[in-house]
């Protein structure tokens, strides 16, 4: 029997390596689309030219001009209206929705209804982040994968604590190992929080039914039904008096609510029995001065009376129980609801660093597997597969951005065309990476082509919409795409000079 210390070391390394390489491709795809999903509020404006108008301050809009036609056609039994205010996820328009019916979008500058273009780019990128096109099984699969990644993170941290690293003789492998370690040591707290919340979102709903069966003594199997009661408490039911009264204008009520709690960015207003004497308005939003404690389900709320604006209730961030605040703290960093552009950029940079660390680890694994036969590196199927995942994904996404402006908006089945091209390009890179014998050549070509596509999509968009000085967000997306394209072109240019063997 060998020395127990050596055996333990071998177990730790092999467990980390085995589970790590199994989950790494899924994690890479998730991180890649997740970075686009962080900027979802900006991309979803960018993709629809009908939304290119300036945001108005919510306290200066005349809501009645848009609200009254809807109130007239509303029947009496169903008297609840939800206004999604300007600025909710960066949207410049106002949405008025009723339960169980179609919602309307308004331009608050001209008070006209907007018909949105048939375009779903930002949402599609967000859905690819958790593999929604795969169907119901995808969420559970990603939950299991993130549980496995928690395993890998714990193993990695234990290894860093127990052993000293940096004794590899080969230069390239030392570089890869060093940066894989450094990046993940420093970024492990936020990365762990991301993966933990992913595991909670994916695995806990389907995996915990035995416990909920045990806890409720056989009454309820669904965990979501139990915790939903405390996460989303019902609004109290108020009786209608059937006496018509004149309401205060909604912007005056918003101003009043802003005086009551000036720290909240109001995002949503719910009107109950509007026009009746018992009418009330519930304003809820996000408090940016208390991050990690509110935003997802814990939303500070101000309830006012509709006819005179008297305060009925005022729920602050800290008023909920500590378990809810714990839930918020776990979910906050992953969902980033209501967060401004600066924090989004910081989180995106952290995640890009994590992606780079992940690619280094895949390269490290491959460089250990590579067999050199008379100074010719041999053909390894995992190497080709990793080119498909790591590099091909850039070209596929670039095609998605390019077709957004190449295909006309009037095209029938536009979404199917766009997404079909995306999937086909991605599969084509798989075929190409297996066809091309030299991996370096394949990577260089794919990088160059995708960089050119990104730059072309930014230029095409600029050419088609022209300059809008009042809406800088749209141009910022263009600039970001342009920089990404330049970066990819530079990488493609650099690969031949430096000996980078994947």
């Amino acid at each position: 029997m060998a020395n127990p210390k050596t055996l333990l070391k071998q177990r730790l390394f092999k467990g980390h390596e085995f589970i790590g390489i199994l989950t790494s491709f899924f994690l890479y795809i998730s991180i890649f689309f997740g970075i686009f999903a962080i900027f979802l509020p900006y991309i979803q404006i960018w993709e629809k030219p009908s939304l290119y108008f300036a945001q108005k301050d919510i306290a200066t809009i005349h809501y009645e001009k848009m609200l009254n036609p809807i109130l007239k056609e509303q029947n009496q039994s169903n008297s609840k209206l939800e206004l999604t205010l300007v600025g909710f996820r960066n949207q410049p328009y106002l949405t008025i929705s009723r339960p169980f019916s179609k919602s309307y979008h308004f331009n608050p500058n001209t008070f006209e209804k907007i018909t949105l273009e048939n375009s779903n780019l930002a949402n599609f990128l967000n859905e690819m982040h958790y593999a929604k096109p795969l169907g119901k099984i995808a969420l559970t699969l990603y939950g299991l994968i993130s549980t496995a990644i928690i395993f890998v993170i714990i193993g990695g941290l234990v290894m860093v604590m127990l052993y000293r690293f940096g004794k590899h003789s080969k230069n390239r492998r030392r570089f890869l190992s060093k940066w894989h370690r450094n990046i993940f040591i420093w970024l492990s707290p936020p990365f762990f929080l991301f993966i933990l919340s992913a595991a909670v979102m994916g695995a806990s709903f389907s995996g915990l039914s035995p416990i909920s069966y045990f806890a409720t003594k056989g009454e309820q199997k669904e965990v979501g039904a139990i915790i939903g009661k405390i996460l989303f408490p019902r609004d109290e039911i108020i009786k209608k008096t059937n006496i018509n009264t004149k309401m205060l204008p909604i912007n005056a009520l918003i101003k009043k609510a802003q005086l009551i709690n000036p720290h909240i960015n109001y995002e949503k207003a719910t009107l109950m029995h509007w026009g009746d004497k018992s009418a009330r308005i519930i304003l809820e939003g996000y408090n940016p001065y208390k991050p990690f404690l509110n935003g997802i389900t814990n939303k500070p709320k101000v309830t006012l009376k509709g006819n005179n604006g008297a305060l009925i209730s005022h729920i602050k961030v800290e008023d909920r129980k500590y378990t809810i605040l714990l839930f918020e703290a776990v979910y906050f960093l992953h969902l980033l609801f209501g967060v401004d552009i600066f924090s989004r950029v910081v989180v995106a940079l952290m995640m890009i660093a994590c992606g780079v660390g992940l690619v280094f680890s895949i390269m490290l694994y491959l460089s250990k597997r590579v067999k050199i036969f008379k100074s010719i590196p041999t053909y390894h199927w995992l190497e080709k597969l990793s080119i498909f995942v790591v590099v091909g994904i850039f070209l596929a996404t670039a095609s998605l951005f390019l077709t957004q402006w190449l295909l006309p908006f009037s095209l029938e089945d536009r979404l199917i065309w766009q997404q079909g091209i995306f999937y086909n390009v991605w599969i084509a890179t798989l075929a190409y990476s297996f066809y091309e014998i030299s991996s370096k050549k394949a990577i260089k070509r794919l990088f160059t082509l995708s960089g050119a596509c990104f730059i072309l999509s930014a230029l095409l968009h600029q050419g088609s919409v022209g300059l809008h000085l009042k809406i800088l967000d749209v141009h910022l997306v263009d600039i970001a795409l342009f920089i990404l394209g330049i970066l990819l072109l530079y990488l493609g240019y650099k690969i031949n000079k430096k000996d980078l063997h994947v």
């Binding site: 029997m1 060998a2 127990p4 055996l7 333990l8 071998q10 177990r11 730790l12 092999k14 467990g15 085995f18 939950g143 993130s146 549980t147 496995a148 928690i150 395993f151 714990i154 193993g155 933990l196 595991a199 909670v200 695995a203 806990s204 995996g207 915990l208 035995p210 416990i211 909920s212 045990f214 806890a215 409720t216 965990v223 139990i226 915790i227 009661k229 405390i230 996460l231 129980k321 378990t323 809810i324 714990l326 839930f327 776990v330």
Partner: protein
């Protein structure tokens, strides 16, 4: 008649010599994942009985901790070298958790 006990039962699990721990066998993988899941369920059921809040809030804490607990237990089990070690660990934890759950369930 002479019976060599070394070929049967727990003896065979324990006495198989291990030269290196670089390979995970089928027994190791299955017992690490599913044994870890079973123990996680028992620990969470015990946690549910011990936490002081009402049902919904206890469930929320368990909801948040499920993946983390499973990963930690599986990691701890994956470090075992022999099959005997992993079997004993699972059985001991099973017994402890079951006794504790039965003890706290009535009160």
């Amino acid at each position: 008649m002479h019976i060599d006990f070394k070929n049967y039962g727990l003896f065979r699990l324990s006495t198989k010599p291990q030269k290196s721990a670089k390979k995970f066998g089928k027994f190791h993988v299955i017992s690490t994942i599913f044994g870890g899941l079973l123990i996680t369920y028992l620990i969470l059921a015990l946690l549910f009985l011990l936490l002081p809040n009402n049902l919904e809030h206890n469930m929320l804490i368990i909801f948040l901790s499920f993946g983390f607990v499973w990963a930690i237990i599986s990691f701890w089990l994956s470090l075992c070298i022999t099959k005997l070690e992993i079997t004993l660990k699972i059985l001991t934890l099973l017994a402890v958790c079951l006794v504790a759950i039965l003890y706290f369930y009535e009160s």
